[in-house]
């Protein structure tokens, strides 16, 4: 328990990515979501439930807002006066944005949420005391709290159902915060495989998040932003979106731009790791 560890921990788990132009690490995991491709089918959300042992809370708790979907499809109705069958809607898949300067990280009293060297916003369940300050300060409200004891008291996975649980992911007890991890169990697996073979993780589908894997329209791409060959990197480059800026080329161009890439609530400067590609609507063409 020395002061040195305090400062070491601080510098290690509060850095931003990249630092200057130099990445800390061969990896920086990031995502790009094409809203034009998203059909709002919710397959990503279902895949996330299966992969990450999310409890299905039931109708009553869902109505109470206590649902635990790390990946959610938000639906925003058009306000053009038309009624339901004709009425258009936009979909926004929303998950933890893995911010580089995450508002949630600084406010946790016990340091249960930190930044990993490969650019993930991690959550340590064992350390969490449930003050819920992280969620209060999250601009996207993508952190989900275990209001109930889902594994035992609520018995979400009764005897025959618990065989479906993913053995690579812990089951969370009551009173801790949880959120999208970018499927950290898959990331760690791929990273360590690559390490034993003396290479970096390839961008050929070796590593996919559950939501990406399940998306029928390939709206989600995920990969290493540092790797110039990765699809994510190319998408970010094509849209001229830069990780450490809080205003992108798209907004800077006067009179609109052909670029589609943006990040949600960029002006708050949390530097999110997920770029969205704006939907191109018929009316706007």
């Amino acid at each position: 328990m020395s002061i040195t560890t305090l400062f070491e921990n601080y510098s290690e788990f509060r850095h931003r990515h990249p630092d200057g132009d130099v990445p800390h690490n061969p990896y920086k995991w990031a995502m790009a979501i094409d809203l034009d491709a998203c059909s709002g089918c919710n397959a990503c959300a279902v895949a996330c439930y299966a992969e990450n042992n999310l409890p299905v809370v039931g109708r009553e708790k869902f109505a109470n807002g206590q649902v635990m979907h790390w990946m959610r499809i938000e639906r925003y109705w058009d306000h053009d006066g038309s009624e339901f069958p004709e009425r258009g809607a936009r979909y926004l898949p929303m998950l933890c944005q893995q911010c580089e300067a995450a508002p949630c990280e600084t406010v946790c009293p016990v340091g249960a949420t930190n930044h990993t060297p490969d650019g993930l916003n991690s959550q340590i369940y064992n350390r969490c005391i449930g003050s819920r300050y992280c969620s209060s300060n999250c601009p996207y409200k993508v952190r989900y709290f275990n209001w109930w004891d889902y594994p035992s008291t609520d018995n979400v996975w009764p005897a025959e159902m618990n065989m479906q649980l993913n053995p690579d992911v812990t089951v969370r007890g009551k009173g801790v915060m949880e959120k999208c991890t970018f499927c950290i169990q898959r990331i760690r697996g791929a990273e360590s495989d690559a390490k034993t073979q003396g290479r970096l993780v390839r961008d050929d589908g070796e590593l996919q998040t559950a939501c990406q894997q399940a998306c029928p329209t390939s709206a989600i791409s995920f990969g290493n932003l540092v790797d110039p060959e990765s699809r994510v990197h190319k998408q970010w480059m094509a849209q001229q979106v830069e990780l450490n800026k809080h205003e992108q080329a798209k907004d800077e161009e006067p009179g609109g731009s052909d670029l589609r890439g943006y990040r949600v609530y960029e002006w708050l400067a949390p530097y999110p790791s997920i770029m969205y590609l704006e939907r191109v609507r018929e009316t706007e063409i």
Partner: protein, 463 residues
Amino acid sequence: MKDIREDIAWAKINTDVLKSLENPRKLYWVILFIAVAVFGVGVGCEVYQYNMGLGVGNFDNPHMWGLYIATFIFWIGMSHSGTLLSAILHIMHADWRKPIYRFAEAMTTFSLMTAGLFVAVHLGRIWQIYFALPYPNMRQVWPNFQSPLLWDAMAIFTYLSSSILFLYVGMIPDLAICRDNMHSGWRKKLYAVLSLGWEGTDRQWRNFRMTYLTIACFLIPLAVSVHSIVSTDFAASQQPGWHITSFPPYFVAGALYSGCAAIITLFIILRYVFKFEEYMTKSILKKVARLTFAIAMVWTYLKWVEFAQAWFGHNAHDQHLLIEKATGTYAPFWWMMNFCASVVPFMLVFKRFQTNIPVLFAVSLLLNLGMWLERFMIVAPTFADGFYPWTWDHNQWPSLVQWGIVFGSFGWFAILFMLFCKIFPSVSMYEVKEMVYHRSLETKKLQALQAAGELAAAGKGAH
């Protein structure tokens, strides 16, 4: 109207105050029983919540904090006026505080203890609460010093321990009086231990004065910092309605305000129950009422600063939130808050109300209701109408479990306060004696001056 009668005999002060420590009436036990029952409701709710998880409080995704944090701020705020009376006014030599500061200081300590409970009750994993403290551990894990919640924990611990020390040190001469006047029994033994062999020698008095002054000076910056730090829970976050620069002074003013209102409430109760009319005079009550009004106006001004900042800040989210507060789901509470905390205090402008006990009692309760609502209006609407539109679709109201725990906290406070009043003198005997002495000296001086003036006018002066 004088703050205190100048010809009260010192022995009478002793007997009057010690009378309050005698065996309580039946009514005392009835009220204490009710307080215990109220506290029991809170404990029951907490046990249920502990077993089931926080879901029983009806929290949900955007509505992460409910009544617990609001009530936590309320109790922390209430603690500030004890320090105002006992430390700040001590340094400013305002001697009218002397008969009333003891119970105010006790209120400080007990409301801090109540606030501390809410920190624990609020947590999802209350059994891991010690993680928030920098305790030595093998894995070299530190808490996160960037977090305002950690500053909170530290500030409250410091303030609580210093308040207890201040309350105790200020009581030593009185404990000696109790020791010397009590029949033998466990209480005499207690006073004998606690009074640390006080004999009232010159040397003891000198050391005592020095110590008391030192702790008072130490406590004043603490009192200001504690509520400033509580305000950073909000001001240091990024959310609309919270991320406001003027929050620290606003919170401190609000704290002093609700504290002063609580002092009026307890003042009136103690005055009536212990028949302390001789010491807790209407003249002092008038001064407290005026002080409350002044602080109410400071608070109202700072509240308008907050609104102005949201309105003229050209931040769409802040403006949206302000409009929602005034017209949305929370509008009844918001308007009631404004009425209770900014309009009702104008009652205190009128001289006839400044000494009218039933009116003051009602007003003080209304002010504190307003201040509780104010805390609720800081915490809740930001969750309901924060940044993210997806979270605007529903409201979530606190369940009976939350209300039960809030209700129980008043029982806890009442238990502590009632026990204190029966075990320790709630009026400072030695300081009232000082006050009487100083006031009578002043009067004598004044009379002498007048007499001299008359003599001089009659041409019979010494010169």
